[in-house]
């Protein structure tokens, strides 16, 4: 069931801003406060707003659980793969520091920051963000669908 037109209009305004903020949190996780888990939580809160405003049946037309589970498993596989990538030295070794990909070394101390730093950390932020987005959205979507079906039965 949909909510009123006021709620839907405000959702149209708020959801793109929240998505952009969550992607900013994930992609700048190695420079500013934030990271994969926080960005994924913010994204999933926007999905919760969508589910509340438009009804779970309408959201389920364009967002299926098996797509979300594929996203979550791929995030976990990227994370484990990056962890195994440093196995030449030790598990979870940061093997990209100093290389050509995300490899710049910032000066020690306060500095404005450079996005092309951090070694393997931005990629792990991306993987964990993908995993948390898909996982929390799948939890919200399945619970909303289950409860709305119960309403239909009664």
């Amino acid at each position: 069931m949909m909510m009123s037109k006021i709620v839907r209009t405000m959702t149209h305004l708020l959801v793109p801003l929240t998505f952009i903020y969550s992607v900013y949190l994930i992609m700048h996780g190695h420079l500013t406060p934030g990271g994969g888990f926080q960005g994924g939580g913010v994204f999933a809160s926007a999905v919760a707003l969508l589910i509340v405003a438009f009804g779970s049946q309408n959201i389920h037309k364009s967002l299926k659980e098996h797509h979300l589970s594929i996203l979550e498993s791929s995030g976990a596989l990227i994370f484990i793969g990056l962890a195994f990538g440093g196995l030449a030295a030790v598990f979870f070794y940061n093997f990209l520091t100093g290389s050509s990909i995300f490899g710049r070394i910032p000066p020690t101390g306060s500095n404005p920051g450079d996005i092309w730093t951090g070694g393997v950390i931005p990629l792990m932020n991306f993987a964990v963000g993908l995993k948390v987005i898909a996982g929390l959205s799948a939890i919200l979507l399945t619970m909303a669908l289950a409860t709305s079906l119960k309403e239909v039965e009664e």
Binding site: G41, A44, M143
Partner: protein, 80 residues
């Protein structure tokens, strides 16, 4: 820093008040919304203690996702 000192007293008191209200309220929806207020105050306290990472996680997960899941679970029960 006197304002920060006052806030460090006010916010924990409000946290305790919100936690007591969650336990006292008979209406489950009201209790869930008070839990959201509790999480937002806790996020503000984390920010004042200079932990912005934890503040963002608490505001996103604690105030939005947890309360949404609680309200979805309350929706499946019968109101008497």
């Amino acid at each position: 820093m006197i304002e920060s000192g006052i806030l460090h007293i006010i916010i924990p008191v409000l946290l305790v008040v919100c936690a007591l209200l969650v336990a006292i309220f008979k209406d489950l929806i009201a209790a869930a919304i008070t839990l959201a207020v509790f999480s937002l105050l806790l996020a503000l306290e984390f920010y004042l203690l200079q932990a912005p990472d934890v503040a963002i996680a608490e505001a996103g997960v604690g105030a939005a996702i947890t309360v949404a899941i609680y309200i979805l679970a309350i929706r499946a029960t019968k109101r008497t």
